[in-house]
């Protein structure tokens, strides 16, 4: 009797939530559609279309928010506003300018190139932070990967050697962070800052000491691209061309990032190890009580985060530009951290945020061709403003693991 009543109530609640959630999701889609219709290939020239669709998106978002789906609902409202603004801007500018900037296949390929290092580092950060150790040293670990990837590729003559060197260096630096955060119970943010300084110094020193003013060798072994010739034969013709231009020749590391994404999702949410990592990050005392070694799990997670972040750095150096320059990560570790938080400490959330950041970087690189240098520069600030809005809780609050940043004292 009571079981039946409870199950009926649960079903009702489930339906209500999915309904509101679905409407909110629809609103986000409409917001994107409002902007998309004003861009090539459709290129609506009237402002009314994006504005009308954007208003629908906002309405859907407000309805969803009023039904308790705050995160998705406010997300739809934001998407609607951005869609209207983007639509107005796009309909105001000339078709030629739009077509210079918006080439979907090139934009998608560039988005993936920019998102890949962020994805590696953000997923690395997820392991560390889910286990309860804040990792703002991701930037330094990426930088280690970038330099040691080059050095390893140079020394061993193979890109595989470069990746091994990079992962070892990133893992070692992460081990230092882990030792101070876990055994020394030092402030993890201070420790991470130190890690960033150390990496900047170590890589810069070794770079000057080994390569001097000449720069890294030009005949460096790079991570190869993967060719998929058959993609161009996919029907219909337009889709086939798009797929071929986008995915037909992508770097192996980008595919590796997809694999890491899926594997880390499975490990984190579908295996006992993932459950242990999460429990150590939420309530270490409880985890300790049931026999989980808090220290061992945390060490493992932090070192893994360094290895993954270093892969992201190695992609930058031996996968993308095939050279190393001092401080070449230039803050990407911090952006990865933002992507992690934006994505709510979840692999696909972080990947989505990395794609968003990658897309705005890709767009920022193409804007100057049509709208001048300063437009592109100003556009670079957008992802950070979005992250600031996200952490401010306007688009639903991102809730960190409960014990992140707190040292655990064994009893």
């Amino acid at each position: 009797m009571t079981v039946q009543a409870a199950s009926v109530r649960a079903a009702g609640a489930w339906e209500r939530v999915v309904g509101a959630r679905g409407v909110g999701m629809l609103g986000i889609g409409l917001g994107a559609l409002a902007f998309w219709l004003a861009l090539p290939p459709v290129e609506t020239r009237t402002v009314a279309v994006p504005v009308a669709i954007g208003i629908f998106a906002i309405a859907a978002g407000l309805w969803a928010a009023s039904r308790g789906e705050l995160r998705v609902g406010w997300g739809a409202v934001a998407a609607g506003i951005l869609g209207i603004l983007g639509g107005i801007l796009a309909t105001r500018s000339s078709v030629e300018h739009l077509e210079i900037v918006v080439t979907w296949s090139a934009l998608t390929a560039a988005t993936l190139r920019f998102a890949t290092p962020l994805t590696f580092a953000a997923i690395g950060g997820m392991f560390s932070e889910r286990s309860g150790v804040v990792n703002i040293g991701l930037e330094g670990m990426m930088l280690m990967g970038a330099f040691f990837g080059v050095w390893g590729a140079d020394r061993t003559g193979s890109w595989l050697g470069g990746l091994v060197f990079a992962m070892a260096a990133g893992g070692l630096l992460a081990l230092v962070h882990a030792f101070f955060a876990i055994h020394m119970q030092a402030d993890q943010i201070v420790g991470g800052t130190a890690i960033n300084f150390l990496a900047l110094g170590i890589t810069g020193y070794m770079y000057i000491d080994i390569y001097g003013t000449e720069g890294t060798p030009t005949d460096l072994a790079g991570v190869p691209d993967v060719q998929f010739g058959w993609l161009s034969h996919v029907p219909p013709h337009g889709l086939g061309n798009f797929l071929d231009d986008t995915f037909g020749q992508m770097n192996l590391m980008i595919w590796l990032a997809f694999a890491v994404l899926i594997v880390s999702y499975i490990v984190m949410f579908k295996t006992p190890i993932g459950l242990r990592i999460r429990s150590v990050g939420e309530h270490p005392r409880a985890a300790d009580t049931v026999g989980i070694s808090v220290y061992r799990i945390r060490y493992g997670s932090v070192v893994l985060s360094g290895v993954l972040a270093a892969l992201g750095g190695a992609y930058l150096s031996i996968g993308f530009v095939h050279s190393f320059t001092e401080n070449m990560t230039a803050g990407r570790g911090f952006i990865a951290l933002a992507a992690l938080i934006f994505g709510g400490w979840r692999p696909f959330g972080a990947f989505g945020a990395a794609l968003l950041f990658g897309f705005s970087s890709a767009l920022a690189r193409r804007l100057p061709d049509a709208y001048g240098q300063s437009a592109g520069t100003l556009f670079e600030a957008l992802p950070y403003i979005l992250t600031l809005i996200a952490v401010a809780g306007v688009i639903g609050r991102s809730i960190p693991p409960a014990s992140v940043g707190r040292p655990y004292k064994k009893q």
């Binding site: 703002i136 943010i189 130190a194 300084f197 000491d209 403003i385 952490v391």
Partner: protein, 397 residues
């Protein structure tokens, strides 16, 4: 036996000065080992060359003649660098005392220098003291507003200040690059091929009190920074605001129960911190740079070094003075201009500085390491014989 925490408290009371010095020494020793291992050069010789580049030998009475003249010049340069280091360190320290980690000094410094340089350009025609005061205040206010955003977000929705200040850093970096860069509204319109602002008016330049104003002498910003150290000490230790800030820093929940408005303290602590960083930006653009270029906005490291300065100085006014002097000296001593390249490559030395900074921050963050070492020393029986048994008796009682 007292707990580790109690030992830590005891050690902080007694050894507060010793540890930072030991930390710095260890970091320099490791740095020396790096020099020895990679170049085979005598680390002492390298450090001597760096030291000569800092101009600190001016303080030795036996240095005379031409050497003294060049030492005086180098010391002026070291102190010019010390000014923003002291101020950005205060920006970290004040927030730290409220339990906040202000990693956004870089953005606050950038905002301060942009507003400072523009106030210096636009307000021309005023008398010199009025112009300087207005420009400096505008820059400090801009820094305070920038950091205040993070403070408000912390106070109202609890957004973590480390994340918000990092984001504000990059927003300041890119918006600043837009303003100053190619085709930006603040770029000097006379030469569109160089991304740099116009030069500040003569009336906005800070007076130089030591050295040649043409050859970049030491400006009065040095006294502004010293004054800021005093203000920091007084506000923190002698005012209600400072008491509340420290109470929140010790334990925000306890402070809330005792009636302190925690959110207000968060906001004010961040705003005051940002004010210090904005002031640092103003001192640099009005004191010796006089204009702001794109690379300065994109690659300045001053405020990040300020974090290390604050940590090494243990967030105290006097500690910050000495550690700012140390880092200012390191920066100037390893610069391409000051360090003799035949002794040691300045590019290498600059990176050596980063390693030393990293080690210092790492060790300073790990108080427990020192306590553990102290305990290990006891176990090994190196400790004073009188100390051991007495402690045991205490524990038994």
């Amino acid at each position: 036996m007292p707990s580790v925490a109690a030992r830590l408290a005891l050690y902080q009371r007694t050894g507060g000065v010793i540890t930072p010095i030991l930390t710095a020494l260890v970091a320099f020793m490791v740095g020396g080992l790096v020099v020895l291992a990679t170049t085979g050069k005598n680390p002492l010789g390298t450090y001597k060359a760096i030291f000569d580049g800092t101009g600190l030998n001016w303080l030795f009475p036996w240095v005379g003649g031409a050497e003294r003249t060049s030492a005086a010049f180098e010391l002026q340069q070291t102190l010019i660098l010390t000014v923003p280091l002291m101020l950005t360190a205060l920006a970290v320290a004040f927030a730290f005392r409220c339990g906040l980690f202000n990693i956004g000094g870089q953005g606050q410094y950038a905002v301060g220098s942009i507003v400072g340089v523009q106030a210096g350009v636009w307000l021309s025609g005023l008398s010199r003291p009025v112009h300087i005061v207005l420009a400096v205040l505008a820059a400090a206010l801009a820094g305070a507003v920038w950091a205040g955003i993070a403070g408000i977000l912390k106070a109202t929705v609890g957004a973590h200040e480390v994340i918000t200040t990092i984001m504000l850093n990059y927003i300041a970096l890119w918006v600043g690059s837009y303003l100053v860069g190619f085709g930006g509204p603040l770029q000097d319109p006379r030469d569109v091929s160089v991304p740099v602002t116009r030069e500040v008016a003569q009336s906005a330049k800070l007076p130089v009190f030591w050295g040649d104003p043409v050859l970049q002498g030491l400006h009065i910003g040095f006294f502004v920074a010293l004054g800021a150290l005093v203000v920091y000490f007084v506000v923190l230790n002698r005012t209600t605001l400072g008491y509340e800030v420290r109470a929140v820093g010790f334990n925000a929940e306890a402070a809330r129960y005792s009636g302190i408005k925690v959110g207000r303290s968060f906001f004010l602590a961040m705003a005051i911190s940002g004010g210090f960083a904005g002031l640092a930006g103003a001192m640099d653009v009005l004191g010796w740079e006089f204009k702001l270029d794109l690379t300065e906005i994109q690659s300045s490291q001053i405020a990040f070094i300020g974090i290390a300065v604050a940590l090494l100085g243990r967030n105290t006014a006097i500690g910050i003075f000495f550690s700012a002097l140390l880092f200012g000296a390191l920066l100037n001593g390893t610069s391409t201009r000051s360090l003799d390249p035949t002794v040691f490559k300045p590019e290498l030395a600059g990176n050596l500085t980063h390693i030393i900074q990293g080690l210092i921050v790492l060790f300073v963050g790990a108080d427990l390491l020192i306590v553990y070492l102290w305990q290990a020393r006891r176990k090994l029986g190196i400790a004073g014989r009188a100390g051991g048994p007495r402690r045991k008796a205490e524990a038994g009682a």
